[in-house]
Every structure is written in structure tokens, then in C-alpha cells.
């Protein structure tokens, strides 16, 4: 955490760079470094499926479009091995590897304008003033698209998931207890792929139910710690727990579970979050943008439980 003097110095440097012809790129770079760090830290989509940087060379050209596309291979299925008596030959099968296309689009923040002289009065970090709301907006859009795709795969409790055809969205009665949590973690390994849950996503109200766990449920001093200090644990039940305040996307008393990202799909970053800043006389205009593409190629690695 920078001190007030350090922030003051940072702000003066930024103003100087914005003011000096040829130095504006340094100012933009300073804001971009700050923005990208915040983007990495704050979005749950990025934490569950970390973005993979993709370069122009790795894109796959298409006949019908000049827009960026990446073709991803899926592991081909194969028939099961069988026991046979002697003097019998195996059946043949031809390997056909399925693939899917990951398409890209752009996320862009609204374009903000500000008189630079009004920025002079800020005592907080100017980089924060410029980028904070935009980062929140961009992450909300990223996380919203991610949850929309999950909800498309797992539309209704008790119904088969799109793609896998297995029930991976269940309602479990009895509230959030040690027993119901462990039952929730069985849903994913029960599918044909037998994936284990690596990451759990809940909102900040749901996680408070865990504070109610007694010593007999949570185990010894851990129960004491969370009742004294609140939830600070990120690893629990051998899973990484991500807690979000986005209750509009992750409903209360719902638990979303994810296998390792390599089993789920791809999240490509073609253009990392970039802040466009232009100063014309005393008016500053700026907006953030990024180009990403993502798809779930395998839906067995997703599960959801609503605790009732």
C-alpha cells in the first residue's frame, strides 16, 4: 500500500507525462500496468479459468470470416475394451477427433471525459480514479458472460446438463451443513468423467453459513478462528473457495463447482485490458477495452447445488 507521499509523487509524475509531448505513452503504460493487475485480482471468471494469452500466430484462419478464431481439439472417445475368447479378433474403429471453435469479441468500458484541472484536486491515486469504475464494469461483464454460459449448461435443477446429459445441478435439502456440503462435492465425481471439484464459487452471504459450523462440524480451532475472525480460508474441503459479492450473478445458498480449468474449456486473451487515454488541450478522454474468447468444451467439469 503506497503512502500518501508516494501517491502524490505518482500523481505528479503521471501529470508530467501526460503534459509532455512524447511522454504520454509512459503515462498510459503506468495506468495499464495498474489496470491489468486489478483485473487479475478481482474477477472470478479469470480466477476459475485463468486467461491464456494467444498471439496472432496461434489463431486459425477461416474461409468465411477474417475475424479471429481458435480451433481447439477435444479428446476423441473410444469404445471400451472387452474380454474375448482365444482366436477372436478385436472390432475396428476409426479415430475421429472432435474440435470446437473459440470465437472472440471485445469488452469495452464507457468512454469517460474529464478536465485535467479537475483531476489536480484528487489526493487519491489518479490511476485509481481513471480505472477503478471501468475495471469493475469490465469484470462485471466478463463474470456475467461466464455465468450466462454456466446457466445455459445447467439450466434447471434435476435436469441433465447440456453436453454431458448427466444431472450436475441439484437441490440439496437440509441447509448448509458438513453433510450437505460433502454431498454437493459428490455430484461432479459421479459423472462419467469422474472429475474432482477444484474450485467452489459462492457469494458473500452463503459463505457466512459456514461461520455457523461448530467445533464438531468444522473441527477444533478452525471453528474458533472463523467465529473470531470471519472467513479468511481459501482452501477448504480440499477445494479453493472463491467468494464474490456479485449476488446478482451467484445467488445466495447456491454453490457452483468447477473442475480444473484444463478439463472445462478455454479462456483466451487476444488483447489484454488496455486503457486508451487521449489528452486534447485540457480535456482528457479515456476508456478500457480488451479482446477475449472463451468456451466450455467439456461440461462434466461444471456442477451446481442449491441448498434448501
Amino acid at each position: 500500500m503506497p503512502t500518501q507521499q508516494e501517491i502524490q509523487l505518482l500523481n505528479e509524475t503521471l501529470f508530467e507525462q501526460l503534459d509532455t509531448p512524447g511522454m504520454q505513452k509512459q503515462a498510459v503504460d503506468a495506468v495499464n500496468d495498474f489496470t491489468r493487475t486489478k483485473m487479475r485480482e478481482d474477477g472470478f471468471y479469470r480466477r476459475i479459468m485463468p486467461p491464456l494469452t494467444i498471439t496472432n500466430d496461434e489463431l486459425d484462419r477461416q474461409v468465411d470470416t477474417d475475424k479471429p478464431v481458435k480451433v481447439v481439439d477435444k479428446e476423441p472417445d473410444s469404445p471400451a475394451a472387452v474380454s474375448i475368447p482365444f482366436a477372436t479378433l478385436p472390432v475396428n474403429f476409426y479415430i475421429r477427433g472432435p474440435r470446437y471453435r473459440v470465437m472472440f469479441d471485445r469488452i469495452v468500458s464507457p468512454r469517460a471525459v474529464k478536465d485535467v484541472d479537475e483531476l489536480r484536486t484528487y489526493v487519491m491515486d489518479i490511476r485509481q480514479v481513471l480505472s477503478d469504475n471501468m475495471i469493475k464494469d469490465m469484470l462485471a461483464e466478463e463474470d456475467g458472460k461466464f455465468m450466462a454460459a454456466i446457466n445455459a449448461v445447467l439450466p434447471t435443477a434435476g435436469a441433465p446438463a447440456v453436453g454431458s446429459g448427466e444431472v450436475q445441478y441439484e437441490e440439496i435439502y437440509g441447509g448448509i451443513t458438513r453433510e450437505t456440503l460433502v454431498d454437493a462435492l459428490k455430484i461432479m465425481p459421479r459423472t462419467a468423467s469422474h472429475f474432482e471439484v477444484e474450485t467452489c464459487l459462492v457469494n458473500n452471504l452463503t459463505i457466512k453459513e459456514l461461520l455457523k459450523f461448530g467445533r464438531d462440524e468444522m473441527g477444533g480451532d478452525f471453528s474458533q478462528d472463523i467465529i473470531k475472525n470471519g472467513w479468511a480460508e481459501t482452501n477448504f474441503l480440499n477445494c479453493r473457495w472463491i467468494v464474490t459479492i456479485k449476488t446478482g450473478l451467484v445467488p445466495t445458498d447456491s454453490l457452483f463447482m468447477f473442475a480444473s480449468p484444463k478439463f472445462i474449456g478455454k479462456n483466451y486473451e487476444l488483447e489484454p485490458t488496455t486503457m486508451y487515454i487521449r489528452r486534447e488541450a485540457y480535456m482528457l478522454e479515456y476508456f478500457a477495452y480488451e479482446t477475449t474468447g472463451g468456451s466450455f468444451g467439456h461440461t462434466n467439469g461444471l456442477a451446481r447445488v442449491d441448498f434448501k
Binding site: 471453435r101 473459440v102 470465437m103 472472440f104 471485445r106 468512454r111 474449456g265 474468447g293 461440461t299
Partner: protein, 185 residues
């Protein structure tokens, strides 16, 4: 495998008025349409179940929007199933948003999406009929000068240099975007 579509077979070229940062464009997802809506078609904005969606053509006082993207564009949609319904993938992005330029902006547009069976002269008023069912695939949001009466049918443009074959060998219609509302009732 279906035949590939060339990027200019269905498209608008904006001859004047775009791109700059002040250009008036608009983005929304497509509503329920029973055919693949190509680039260049005219759409209007409508609220369906509380959400903004584009639907083909214009009615009454709808403001026309000329689509820069088609429903099948790689930055709009990524089909998740095969023709027989087998799962391929579930897209996280693109999100289904399409964008277009709004007729109230000052543009001269060259569009492939017009009724090429008709004759056009400079000054002709243009409209674009609605139609989201599969039967309207060749008419929904397609520009025409047929039966355009001021303040009755919504006007979306006025013909400029008119019908011609462009440098890609595709028949196009040049017009200025104009918005004149039709009858409100």
C-alpha cells in the same frame, strides 16, 4: 458442410459518416428470429421480457438500425451444437451482441440488403418491412421503396446514387440514412 459465405455477400459499406468516435451506433442481442439475419439488414430496438433486443424491419415510429454484424458472425455467436443437436461447445464469448449504425446519424450507406427487383432513383424514400418468422427470410429488414408514404410507413433512408454493382460484384443500393417516423397507431 454448408457453403461458406463471403464477407461481402451481405454487408453495408458506410461511404460517409463512419468511423469516428462520435459515430452513433448501437448494440443489442438479437430477438427470436426464425432465420439467419445477415449483415446489412435493418432492425429496430424492442423490449422483450424486459430486455433490449433487435428485431428485423421497422414499424410505426421505430428508429432504424443498419446491422454491421450478421447473426452468424464470429464475433456475435458460436453455435454450440451440430445440425442434429450434438453438443460441440458452450460459448462464454461472444455474447450474442450485434451492432449497427442508427438511422438518425449522418451516413451514406451502400447496402446489399435491398429489394433488387425494383428500380430506384435519387430521392426515393426507403422503408424496411418487419418479419421474424422463417417465411420472412428474404424480406425482413430488407430495404425497399415500395409503397412508402410519408408519415404512414416509417422511412429509414433516401436513395442517393441508387442501385449499382459494387467492386465485389455484388448488387448494392446507396442511400442516405434518414429517419422519418411512420404513423404511431
Amino acid at each position: 458442410m454448408s457453403a461458406p459465405d463471403l464477407p461481402f455477400e451481405h454487408a453495408i459499406d458506410i461511404k460517409k459518416g463512419w468511423f469516428d468516435m462520435a459515430s452513433l451506433d448501437y448494440s443489442a442481442k438479437l430477438g427470436t428470429v426464425g432465420y439467419t439475419l445477415p449483415r446489412g439488414r435493418v432492425v429496430h430496438l424492442e423490449h422483450v421480457n424486459g430486455k433490449e433486443v433487435f428485431l428485423p424491419g421497422v414499424r410505426k415510429t421505430d428508429v432504424a438500425i443498419f446491422l454491421l454484424n450478421g447473426a452468424n458472425d464470429a464475433d456475435v455467436s458460436n453455435d454450440g451444437t451440430t445440425a442434429s443437436g450434438k453438443f460441440v461447445q458452450q460459448a462464454i464469448s461472444p455474447s450474442g451482441k450485434m451492432s449497427g449504425v442508427v438511422a438518425t446519424g449522418g451516413y451514406e450507406i451502400d447496402s446489399t440488403e435491398f429489394d433488387s427487383s425494383r428500380s430506384y432513383v435519387a430521392g426515393d424514400l426507403l422503408t424496411a418491412p418487419t418479419g421474424a418468422g422463417s417465411g420472412a427470410a428474404s424480406t425482413g429488414g430488407v430495404l425497399t421503396n415500395a409503397s412508402v408514404v410519408q408519415f404512414v410507413a416509417p422511412v429509414v433512408g433516401v436513395v442517393s446514387s441508387g442501385k449499382h454493382v459494387n467492386h465485389n460484384g455484388v448488387s448494392t443500393l446507396s442511400f442516405w440514412s434518414v429517419w422519418l417516423p411512420g404513423s404511431a397507431s
